[in-house]
């Protein structure tokens, strides 16, 4: 499970960074989103991976993190997802405005001279 998760985070992060460095605004926004997903999975994994742990306090179980999944990273991820979603929406609007002003989708508003 650790390997799968690590590969998933690595792939998302790698694709995200590569796309973010591309010259088209659409590629940049997809890159930022992928990077965001990778980061969210990473935060989640920082609560340690466990199978079949209780999510909410159950009677009879001692109140230590060995018996439960760590609720803190889940709370953090939830906040990060909401903020990331809002920022992506805002970025999309700016992207459209940019296209309206310059008539192309280059991040600098003008095509590179080849």
């Amino acid at each position: 499970m650790e390997i799968v998760l690590a590969l998933a985070i690595g792939t998302l992060g790698g694709c995200g960074v590569w796309l973010m460095l591309r010259p088209r605004t659409y590629q940049v926004i997809i890159g930022l989103s992928l990077l965001g997903y990778g980061v969210n999975l990473f935060i989640f994994s920082m609560g340690r991976l466990a199978l079949d742990s209780e999510p909410v306090i159950a009677p009879g179980l001692p109140a230590t993190l060995a018996q439960y999944t760590d609720p803190m990273p889940q709370a953090l991820v939830l906040t990060a997802i909401v903020i990331g979603f809002a920022m992506t929406a805002l970025f999309l609007v700016v992207l459209l405005a940019q296209r309206g002003f310059f008539g192309n989708d280059h991040v600098d508003g003008k095509e590179d001279d080849v």
Binding site: L32, G36, V39, F42, T79, F91, V94, F101, G109
Partner: protein
């Protein structure tokens, strides 16, 4: 008039210097003094107010129609003024008594730290709150002239910006710092795009992309730190860092370094600062004045975390990252200085002045000595106010060359062209003649141009660090501290000498750049009408300069305050004890709660 405004302004700012020094003495004054004392006593309960007030104001403003801009403007100004008043009250509270380490701790959820979130007030955060409150109020006043009508929801975004700034200064844990960073950034995206136009949209796109990437790094760093230490509360983190196992320490350092990159991008360290100048120069003017504060948030967080987490008591982590901060700060300072020399438009000049100020601060803080930190803290307020004033002034200068209403929009030329076609003009022997061949010598300049000139000279003196204004005192404090802190061998290290040289050269270059721009605007023989000055637009600049004059007159108190603050910052144990020792208000179910520190739960998942 100018004299009266200066005097009026001296009231609240004197409180900044001397605890209760400005209290009046008449019977009415006695009443006011007692009201002030009761407000001071309630100050720890008012710590949440700098967050709630702008948030609620923003909610109310959102409900009002855009057409009622006069009412919206009045509400926004009232809230910003109340925010400044609150900040001054909180600062006065931290100055009470002889103890340098007065900490206000507020538990918003009534759970003990590190379980619940926590707001912490100390002298540094109170100082930053006052600075942010003052600059925000002045920028909002400036915006009343016309900027608030240039697009939708300006007032709402502005209040949220104030809330984000206040929250970043007050929060005591890393995740809320992220949240307030995002509040602040989201508002700044809106403010940067306010007024629209190609230049704003293009630089806004870059600004948003950079900040979204930096936010991802922030989250990565915070997650790594949580994974290693099991907490995000800054005080508890500081207490736990010495106990981190040797095998985990590289991971912790990696987390802190990733986190720091996010703040360094915000604080505009070279080479993470190429976005700054186009964005700040193209933003609407009141927004760019407030943006001058955003870089200071980055500097504030770097100072807070480096003194708290990597103090001398942090074991193997002591002093982590400081050399990066020094060298990066010096590179930033050099970059900003060269940029100032190259900039043609005043707004871009102001953008590079932000970078210079931030580079100076980072280099001084990276040296991590209380004396040097104190020098940086003397420099910080004056430099922030001066840059903000210069941003406001830059628009008036820009406008005076071009009375065309189209100039209200963001300038289309990112190319940073010369403001006048001076280069193409033929300057012959009789240059001192105007277009009608009348002698220019001895002709009275228009009053508005004269006032602009006075403000420009004050800003230039402040930014270049020349006497008699506070910029000089700030630089003097830093240079004296650099020479007064020998290393163990008793000699002043070469790093100190090079930073000293860099600061002096940077001041000289700033002076050259500013006088060049000033000559071009005020002395160039180019026919143009006198600019129209409105009170709304000139008063904020005059008040910001007046605040710097007060800082100059009260220099001794400022230096004393900076010394006490720096000493407290470099001995973080009192901060840690204050935060972890804060107890929630007893409630009905209070007895059932576990004692967080004693619980094995917090020993982390390992």
């Amino acid at each position: 008039m100018a004299r009266r405004t200066t005097y009026e302004h001296a009231g609240p700012t004197q409180v900044l210097m001397l605890p209760l020094g400005g209290a009046a003495r008449s019977a009415w004054g006695a009443q006011m003094t007692s009201a002030w004392h009761s407000a001071l006593a309630a100050a720890p309960q008012l710590m949440i107010a700098p967050l709630l007030l702008p948030l609620l104001t923003a909610c109310v403003l959102l409900l009002l129609s855009e057409r009622r801009h006069r009412l919206k403007g009045a509400l926004g100004l009232a809230a910003a003024a109340a925010n400044l008043g609150l900040a001054v009250l909180l600062l006065a509270w931290t100055l009470q008594g002889p103890e340098a380490s007065a900490y206000g701790v507020y538990l918003p959820s009534n759970w003990q730290a590190p379980f619940g979130i926590v707001l912490v007030l100390d002298r540094l955060s109170a100082l930053m709150l006052v600075l942010a409150g003052l600059v925000a109020l002045m920028a909002l006043l400036f915006a009343q002239a016309r900027w608030h009508k240039a697009g939708a929801h300006f007032q709402v975004l502005f209040q949220l910006q104030i809330m984000g700034l206040n929250g970043a200064f007050l929060t005591g844990d890393l995740f809320n710092l992220f949240v307030f960073f995002e509040v602040m950034l989201a508002a700044s995206y809106g403010l940067l795009l306010h007024g629209s136009g190609p230049a704003r949209v293009r630089s806004g796109l870059h600004y948003i992309a950079i900040n979204l990437a930096a936010s991802s790094l922030f989250l990565l760093g915070a997650a790594l730190i949580y994974g290693v230490t099991g907490t995000l509360n800054m005080a508890y983190l500081a207490a736990r860092i010495p106990q981190v196992a040797a095998a985990d320490r590289p991971l912790l350092h990696a987390g802190c370094a990733i986190l720091a990159v996010a703040f360094l991008a915000k604080a505009a360290m070279w080479p993470l600062n190429f976005w700054l100048v186009p964005a700040y120069a193209s933003a609407s003017t009141p927004s760019s004045a407030v943006f001058a504060l955003l870089t200071k948030v980055g500097v504030y967080v770097l100072l807070r975390l480096s003194t708290l987490l990597f103090s001398a008591g942090a074991g193997a982590s002591a002093g982590f990252g400081n050399s990066w901060l020094v060298l990066g700060g010096m590179a930033t300072l050099a970059f900003g200085t060269l940029g100032m020399l190259g900039a043609q438009r005043p707004a871009r000049l102001a953008g590079f002045a932000v970078i210079v100020s931030s580079g100076t601060l980072m280099a001084m803080l990276g040296l991590a000595r209380p004396e040097l930190t104190a020098g940086a803290l003397v420099y910080l307020p004056g430099s922030t106010l001066a840059v903000a004033a210069f941003f406001l002034l830059a628009e008036l200068l820009d406008r005076s060359r071009d009375p065309d209403p189209a100039a209200m929009r963001a300038p289309e030329d990112e190319e940073d062209r010369l403001p006048f076609a001076l280069a193409e003009q033929e300057l012959h022997a009789q240059t001192n003649l105007d277009d009608d061949e009348q002698a220019l010598v001895g002709r009275a300049i228009p009053a508005s141009t004269a006032w602009l000139g006075v403000a420009f000279i004050c800003c230039a003196l402040l930014l270049a660090g020349l006497p008699p204004l506070s910029g000089f005192i700030g630089k003097l404090a830093m240079l004296a501290a650099l020479l007064d802190t020998p290393d163990a061998a008793g000699t002043v290290p070469g790093l100190h000498w090079s930073l000293l040289g860099l600061i002096i050269v940077s001041g000289l270059c700033a002076l050259v750049a500013l006088s060049r721009v000033g000559m071009r605007f005020f002395w160039a023989p180019v026919g143009r009408g006198a600019p129209r000055l409105r009170v709304y637009e000139y008063a904020p600049i005059a008040l910001l300069v007046a605040a710097c004059v007060v800082l100059t007159v009260q220099a001794e108190a400022v230096v004393r305050f900076a010394n006490a603050t720096a000493m407290a910052l470099h001995r973080p144990q009192a901060y840690i004890d204050a935060v972890l020792g804060a107890r929630p208000v007893p409630t009905a179910t209070h007895g059932d709660r576990p004692n967080p520190i004693a619980q094995p739960m917090l020993q982390g998942p390992r």
